[in-house]
Subunit: 189 residues, 2 copies
DNA sequence: CTCAATTTTCAGTAATTTCTGAAAGTTTGA
DNA sequence: TCAAACTTTCAGAAATTACTGAAAATTGAG
């Protein structure tokens, strides 16, 4: 398969990036390829394009399916499965965030809650618990922001994306948040 | 060193989490230990607590230093180096975000910009470029939000954290953003 | 139902990453 | 300047993770 150099570098880059995150190189490359592909492609095409064994591609696709990141479809008169990514980048991002939350954030919060419930047996434990509480609150705060952003409708997001680098708008929005919370004072919720 | 079970599970959890991200288990555990520690601790104490070799701890600390995540200090009459984390969780988070941006986001944006500059030699390439542009815009948008949030002063953040789960406030803030951009219409910036 | 097409599984191998002990390097107080 | 105290480096061992080919399982057209 003749992969244009432009696509090549994109694919390689995401392979590298993947391995910096928990995702392995193969999976990163497969997703990158699907992402820029004009039409859905099948596992053999992927294997040939990337020079991986068919079985490796199969495992990679299974992994991506478990992350709900690929769409699967069939074409008439062809028994093979064809894969693609959602057309909307934002949807991809949202799914990724949801899965990461489920796999990483939730278990962490559960662990922290558990630790915070324990009766501290020493000053050291008391201090550790206080630190865990701070972390717990930070994570809750950040994830709640994230989920708010996630729930923005696609239309609003499209508009925001068109604004491009005109970040000042976004800055203002942060300002108003700041004022809002000031009004609320330091009261415990 | 007698590590309380409460701290133990925290440390082990972050070891696991670390390895899901690019960070290795050792580094995750070291940071978790520092994070909940009442006072700065030295490399030997870390090695003993976690059961790692001294050299492994040394490498882990070096890694953490390269991420600017640890504070280093000395005590009078003691030549050893003592390590700790910032007191403010938010500062830790901010540093982490900055470093990740520098190491992962910036190189990705550079690659995408490069690819977008190329003259497309085919429809396939044209399509790939369009996809890359979408991704570029998404990343820019998300990172600009992030950096805005990062720049909130600690005081505001403290207040927000105290609000805790009263996320409705944060939701409103998202609403106002939505209105703001509507006013702006679909105009290119 | 049968069988060819296709996908998945899995045991073994390859590659990579992590970890260690020993040795080299650095720092500082006397 | 020396030497003890401490830290870092690094080559190889250990552990983990990725990848493959062959075989098993599944699927669907006829």
């Amino acid at each position: 398969m003749n992969t244009p150099p432009l696509v090549q570098s994109f694919v390689l880059h995401f392979g590298e990036m993947g391995s910096r995150w928990g995702i392995n190189r193969t999976v990163g490359q497969i997703y990158a390829l699907l992402y820029v592909s004009e039409r859905p492609i099948n596992a053999d095409e992927i294997a040939e394009s990337l020079g991986f064994s068919r079985s490796n591609v199969s495992m990679g696709l299974k992994e991506l399916e478990s992350w709900r990141l690929v769409k699967l479809q069939h074409f008439p008169g062809d028994r093979r499965e064809y894969f693609s990514t959602p057309d909307d980048v934002w949807e991809i991002f949202r799914t990724l965030a949801e899965e990461r939350k489920k796999r990483e954030v939730e278990p962490t919060l559960t662990m922290l809650r558990g630790a915070m419930m324990e009766r501290p047996a020493s000053d050291a434990e008391k201090h550790a618990q206080a630190r865990m509480k701070e972390m717990y609150q930070l994570i809750e705060l950040v994830t709640s922001w994230f989920s708010d952003i996630q729930n923005l409708d696609v239309e609003t997001l499209q508009r925001l994306m068109k604004l491009g680098s005109k970040v000042t708008k976004v800055l203002q929005f942060t300002q108003s948040l700041s004022k809002m919370t000031s009004r609320n004072g330091g009261e415990e919720a």
